[in-house]
Symmetry: D2
């Protein structure tokens, strides 16, 4: 039985463009996908760059005109991995072209734009995906399942952080990530901490209902790349207190000037009967404390990723061999393809991406106001 | 040359009473103390309890009347290790009796009481000490020295936590720690997180100037010990955003319902040139990241306590052998005795204890108001 | 410029067959390979199994006749991932057919067979590869480079282990891995420990020149799969003392009954100026101690995999994102393809595979004799 | 009820002399000892040194004549903390004087001497103790109890190491520890690894019955302290394969040139149903894997020392506060005092110390012979 073809268009070939291309390749080998994938066209900033990327990443065609890509009738899915400010225009055009759209996070710099995108996608009945790839880790799915199954008892507290140091050097130039409209550490990586928080505890504790934000700019200006300096207004550190629907409370921090940290996407969840602790620095492990263990033998238990934790076993039949970052992205792609085929709901669609933008903006608003805000 | 005698009176023989007695014994062996110590009198709730404690802890005399102890002309130093609500009365009486006073933390449930105690001590020119024992760890002193010496560069961010689970069981009874006047997780152990924050970064980043608090009661009532239930109003989790004088920002959390955590007194400090990470769960280690390390060889370095880190070498001449909790308490006692002898300033006197209470109360007030508060 | 085609034949579609298929797919995306790869034919035990595997793993053709595959003029490289006892016959046939051969480890159960294979390949001037995939970790390459560059000073000691628990259950059946000719824990996974030892320290300390073995059978019989029991003669634990050419000494252990261990492929290397420690359980980290660090700041430093450590950056441009097991296999495949293209020497050819078998057999012989043996 | 007095004499006031003095002080506070201790006399190399030590360590009298100390009728227990070569003469003299003797390890450089000492003590019916202090860790007692109770199932494998780096610098001078008669890393610290091995698994797997040794001298000569160089013959690294009475096998390593290691006294024990892993670098933790945990939730569990693990609770009533090295020594002293009082058997008497010397010498003999040796 032959599978239907699904033709992929990709806009952008940087860090995340490559990650999408890798993800499809890996997914096609690892999963029993519902489609035969065709890497159809890649668009980049120039013909030359696009041609080079097509060759490197395995796309059959290349273009410097993303507008032609998003209306190409031969293309089924459009992947958007360009700077954030371009997401909206590209996504709306692709949706208008009837394409499914897989957009990198953040969905758009502003929640209003994100909403427009989500509504357009829903009106057009296309399937969408936003790239919150850390959620695709089998150990996070395990954590979520354990929490939902009550293995921690009733949830009481949450602590999350996403800290890196890629903006720690004040000599680094002003980039699109510093754009006052939607930039900053909270939006860029604090968003991961927020996504993880609701992903994990949402089913058990309900959504985040209130936030108190603390967004701080530590590096006040940066080289503008033209010999001058440019004022920076976005946050280098964005913190929030959280309130969940069930009354549990917590906090998150997004921080891109945390010298020495490369991938501190960590969380701790505390319930009445147990706790979980996790660090992306060792993301093939989940640490689990249970009050069910007998007295004198209790302790945080280091669970290593194994075929017991789906879909690890599709990558490797033996425990302890470990997944890498590109594998997480492949899981994300596979889930999205299943959603396109109607096999499952969209794992993290534009509406979910809007939700994160809403949380980010509510935290920003709270920080500016210096008071708690309800999350709309 | 014989040393002058210093006669110790101790009120209380529970967890902290024992710790004080152990501390003096260890300090007398390990340090070249300025005094010959005499464990003179111990006071406890009854004659019988006091006699038993005296025998166990090596005090020559016992009494059930703490009031007689604090005015006994034979006693030089009064140690107070009773429930928090009693600290003030006992300390003021001891100060009035001309005694030096070594009081367990928190100094008093309320800052106003703490201030009265600090001012009385200063007026009487007696030497005081409050028991923030975790500060006495050589690795914390190392961290403070490194920060002060600029090894991290300019300070930018701080994350602190003190989480345990001794109140996680909602079937546990209402105790003095739940007293609406001064109880709660923030006061009880969040205070350690605050003390550590200012201890470490104060010399470099200045004091905490502003706070935004988030204090949450998760267990709303507890058994009252008489067959009924009693409403709990104090916080089970107390969080705060922090602002330091130099503009650096941070956060702390005090949490006594963190299931599975026994001694998560942790911090991370980030500067422009480096970072430190520490956990009391492994308190003979300090983790240090330096951008001075060459490219491709950078990473958090696990520094193990050794004779290079004073006063570790007095306990053991070989590295890696490790100090225990009672050793930290002995370092605290030794520092205090040096202060009494005029060899050094008081390491953490009542004024410093008042400072912590002020921080706690400002966080409480901020939490109630839902807005930032300047720290007086 | 189009690349020459390289057509791949794969025999076997189990754990390692999949890993080879994944490896080529990932390598084709991640690396600038010298060839355009074509997954040409897969051979498996039956037509049905082969067809299914071809579909799953992306091969164009399927066959149940591996003999036809190895002589198919359309095929350039033959990958052998079948049980160990079949490696020799298949490899010799493929070499006779003029194919390059990429064979899973161990090369063959016996060193004599391995030698025959290595000599045949060399005589035929085909390029060969044996799958010691853990060596392909950028952190191991880093370790080797550091050692070779003298960052540890003169090498003195080595400790290696490869322990798992996949044979810990005595109710598990007798398999080809228990075959008296070439089976056992030392051959199966102790071989990894040996390969890593020589890979890391060989350039600096020279090869292993002498061994003293200790091979122990703990589970004396196993179910034979036909309702009976079968005697087991191979080692469940195989240890060895090692002597290197420069006089340094060390030890390794292979252990497949280490309950709880999933991937304890660990090593520690000690030199006069520093040390390295590594665990495959956290294989994106390397721990480095240097006496060059200043006094009071020394400690094992956790270096996280980053673009500074080639070829990590081809997988991900940002540090800390981590590689997975299949990525290691892709690095292995890419290195082999470069060798086929003449860009570099074979990374781990049949001659190197023979070396490992020789070490394994010398250890076995030493264990049987109860005395040290020189390694031929 | 007053306790009988026990008067302590101590010979030596270096590292271990201090540790003994500290141990008695701590023990007297922490434990309900059967005696009232009196630190009676300390002997050191000169009158001046002895007087200074007496003052520092709390002994009432000082002498430069250890011979007078060991026959002083006022003294009940003699503690020997001098260089190894002096142990025998001092111990025999003390035993002849009717004293109980608490001797630092190793009992004597040679097993024949150790035997003489053990037999003399037994003939004189005095109580003896040898200072294998790491065994006194509550987490080791826990490990032993768990193994004895069958929580790991049937024992199969053991891996132990004791590695430090205090002899790693080849510029360090020749000391008594390099004495050809009884010196070397195996005797000095490998002995700890041996003691721990039998302590833990002895009750379940029986004693070590056979050994194969590998003792290596890496630093062939050292400064002799007089401007010349002196040849070193003792081992810098001493390894052994082990066979236990029940058929389980294992290995240990003693290594005093392991650059970067300060206290790597580690072990792993594997049984049919579980495993334990421990490092003295974090000695308030024990890691436990149990196959009884449910599938998908298995993992090594970090058990933190707590009042559930005797006698931790006597030091601190709260979990997670941690013991230090001097506390371990206090537990050792307390156990010995209980043995003197007849409350329990001697925890680690001269006969046990002889056992370790016998193991060390058998390993040395095996290493020299290059063959396995049965342990007498």
């Amino acid at each position: 039985m032959t599978k239907p073809k699904l033709r992929i268009g990709l806009i952008g070939s940087g860090f995340m463009g490559k990650a999408h291309a890798f993800a499809y390749s890996i997914a096609a080998r690892v999963f029993d996908l519902p489609f035969e994938l065709e890497l159809h066209t890649i668009a980049d900033i120039s013909d030359e760059a696009a041609a080079k990327a097509a060759s490197a990443l395995g796309f059959a065609r290349a273009t410097s005109d993303w507008r032609s890509l998003v209306v190409d009738p031969a293309i089924d899915v459009v992947n958007i991995t360009t700077p954030n400010a371009l997401h909206k225009e590209m996504a709306l055009a692709a949706i208008a072209g009837g394409k499914h759209v897989y957009c990198e996070k953040p969905l758009a710099p502003l929640a209003t734009d994100s909403r427009e995108m989500a509504e357009a996608a829903e009106a057009a009945s296309v399937k969408t995906q936003v790239g919150f790839n850390y959620l695709c880790n089998p150990m996070l799915q395990l954590a979520r399942d354990m929490i939902a199954a009550g293995e921690l008892g009733e949830l009481r507290g949450y602590r999350g952080v996403h800290a890196e140091d890629y903006m720690a050097d004040s000599a680094g130039p002003f980039t699109f990530r510093h754009d006052p409209a939607g930039g900053g550490a909270l939006a860029d990586i604090g968003s991961h901490a927020l996504a993880t928080a609701e992903f994990l505890v949402g089913p058990a504790a309900g959504p985040i209902t209130g936030v108190m934000g603390d967004c701080v700019t530590m590096i006040k200006e940066r080289p503008d790349g033209k010999g001058g300096r440019r004022r920076v207004e976005v946050d280098d550190v964005g913190r929030a207190f959280l309130r969940f629907a069930n009354g549990a409370s917590g906090s998150i921090e997004g921080n891109w000037i945390a010298t020495g940290r490369k991938m501190q996407h960590d969380f701790e969840v505390y319930g009445t009967r147990g706790a979980l602790a996790f660090s992306q620095e060792r993301f093939n492990e989940l640490h689990f404390f249970s009050t069910d263990d007998r007295r004198g033998r209790q302790g945080f238990r280091r669970i290593e990723a194994s075929p017991d934790h789906r879909p690890y076993g599709l990558f490797c039949v033996a425990p302890g061999h470990q997944l890498g970052f590109n594998d997480l992205k492949a899981i994300e792609a596979a889930g999205y393809l299943d959603a396109i085929a109607g096999r499952q709901p969209e794992p993290f669609n534009f509406r979910a991406g809007l939700r994160i933008q809403t949380l980010v903006e509510t935290i920003h608003a709270s920080s500016r106001a210096g008071t708690w805000k309800n999350v709309p």
